[in-house]
Subunit: 375 residues, 2 copies
């Protein structure tokens, strides 16, 4: 849309769009977001302007339209040349605050999830269009089942590096293990692992987790995925007051051992500034011993009782026996994962990817959408 | 302190300590935090209990004191053996909520900071007691100047691995560079870098940053450190309303380039649930173009004007020309760093350490303190 006219006020200007709509921009905002070579470095996409030193009452010396209103050009007192503002740029920022973010997740439970919705072939997942499909499935359903992978940890690395890079943790990066009773963490024993999210003790819990079945010659060990957002929605419906409470009570996760003592605290259900749920954090194994004041302690236990019973209810689960060459990639901020107890040999490989790198990949593949967020 | 008596109620018990004080514990909390071999794995420090399946009205079958009140022993209906609770354990959790956390930071400005307070010798910093001193200086002042380091990036790795491990980012891990105009980011050019925090576009901004001067044959390039908490305190004093506003307005940082599009949003001044300041996030270079609703947009600009002028005011700065073999290690959640423009050769090496690993090191070195936090 192009600009048909403008009207200057003392501290702002009104833009009139072809079509008749109008938008107001403060002079300070316009100066702050000037993208001329002195104020903005196009190579690094960084603001060079020392915003704090711009006078609060800055105003243009001169304003003009160019190219049939495709640009509005402003001469600022501190710059020699006119600064061009593209009409599309201004249109994009014409209302408060535009952010690019995740698309609406497709919540699921046992009755609605099918293997077809979440499956993809390994070789396809590594192509350009396949990568988009792979990412879209995770954005929609929170996980993807990658089929016919090479049975070696290099396949995990290839999938990870196709999106971002492997996150480093106290455990290292890319890993491979067989069930082994001598390891410290419960993830290394063949007992049942009830659904949980990983690294609740980490300030930035891993965004994506990759789990590849390298070898399987056992009885049991079914993988379990639960849509944490779906269960949260159920709580909201059944007990809105408890939902609201548990969105505020911080729970501490802890990892202690091998010279580390990691701790992090956040609510089980975490929301962004616009009130949308962004993260489910739940790991009863790693929940630290803490004492909250009443009635918070009782509320927290009520929430754990409600949520963990649903997490363990097959009606909310996708269950699948991973075969060698099958890989799960899931959103650790949304999906709880678990597995049944087993006896025999089961060799897995895996890695984590940071949340920010997953979101970056979504942006690079045009899989985010523009939404208005309230400040 | 030992237990002299106890009194059972329907859903809780009151413990009487030798000395006469009393504390109340709910049965559910006691059952949830039982540390017997069935409920708790001492090797992994993980809770094995399926808390959600414990009846909300659980109550002991039998209770008794042992070893002159050093233990209270409870027989639960779902366990065969008595569970022993040490009196010290219960005393620690006798009031809501005890957390171990950072000690009170020692705020500083130009008039109060001295090189003596923040200097340490490289070889000493690698000893057990030296590591504690090194960490304590960072906890107190937000940074440390390590002297007489080997002039090679291996020194950065040794310091990093002495605390945790090197964080991986889109730029890699351990790095070394000379000023070079062809690199994308402003950190690679010899222009002045005004004080800022790093990776405002990262969901979990690096906790510690390590910067080693490997070679210096130039004019200019002074390093600048600013205590963000000190400046925040000044704002609180001068304009409490603006302080409160800027603690709520989320600012978006962005990194765009090399196939990445990283974004993160948080207030410039971030506080924990108890209202203590935990993080300063400020980088005018990487601040994304966003439009907030009014009056937030105007408030944000007012805050930027106030804060960035103080960040750039020498009265709030520690300034020092790093010589080869000198290393700065600073808390990127508190300290803003910058450097003057320069001409000539300047070779630096560096790395990041995660915040959680820094906090873990503080805990492992007994440099945290126990505080009561309100839920």
């Amino acid at each position: 849309m192009t600009i048909s006219a403008y009207q200057q006020d003392s501290d702002s200007m009104q833009i009139e769009w072809h079509g008749g709509e109008t938008s107001v921009f403060s002079y300070f905002w316009l100066r702050d977001n000037a993208r001329d070579p002195i104020s903005f470095d196009r190579q690094s996409h960084q603001r060079e302007l020392f915003t704090a030193m711009v006078p609060a009452d800055i105003a243009p010396c001169e304003v003009k339209l160019r190219d049939d209103g495709r640009f509005i050009c402003i001469k600022w007192p501190d710059l020699e040349n006119f600064v061009d503002y593209a009409s599309d740029f201004l249109l994009y920022y014409s209302s408060p605050t535009v952010v690019t973010d995740l698309t609406e997740p497709k919540l699921w439970d046992k009755s609605s999830i099918t293997n077809n919705l979440i499956s993809i072939e390994y070789e396809h997942a590594l192509t350009q269009s396949g990568t988009s499909e792979f990412l879209k499935k995770i954005a929609d359903y929170g996980f993807v089942l990658v089929k016919h992978c090479p049975c070696e940890k290099a396949a995990v690395a290839r999938i990870a590096k196709n999106i971002g890079y492997i996150r480093k943790t106290i455990f290292g990066g890319l890993w491979e293990f067989e069930a082994n009773e001598t390891m410290a963490d419960s993830a290394y024993t063949p007992k049942e692992l009830r659904p949980h999210t990983d690294s609740t003790y980490s300030l930035d819990a891993p965004g994506l987790q990759i789990l590849l079945c390298v070898d399987y010659n056992a009885v049991g060990g079914e993988s379990v995925m639960v849509d944490g957002f779906r269960v949260a929605k159920q709580l909201l419906q059944d007990d809105p007051e408890l939902y609201s409470l548990v969105s505020k009570i911080e729970v501490t996760g802890i990892y202690k051992g091998d010279g580390s003592n990691l701790q992090a605290s956040r609510p089980i259900l975490r929301h962004d500034i616009a009130g949308r749920i962004v993260q489910v954090t739940f790991n009863n194994y790693d929940r630290a011993t803490t004492r909250l004041a009443e009635p918070q302690m009782t509320h927290l236990y009520s929430a754990i009782r409600y949520l963990d019973r649903l997490f363990n209810n097959p009606n909310y689960q996708w269950r699948h026996q991973l075969k060698p060459g099958e890989m799960l990639v899931f959103d650790n901020w949304r999906i709880l994962h678990g597995r049944g107890g087993f006896e025999g040999k089961r060799k897995m490989a895996g890695a984590y990817i940071n949340r920010e790198d997953f979101l970056s990949a979504l942006r690079e593949h045009d899989l985010t959408e523009t939404t208005v967020k309230t400040a």
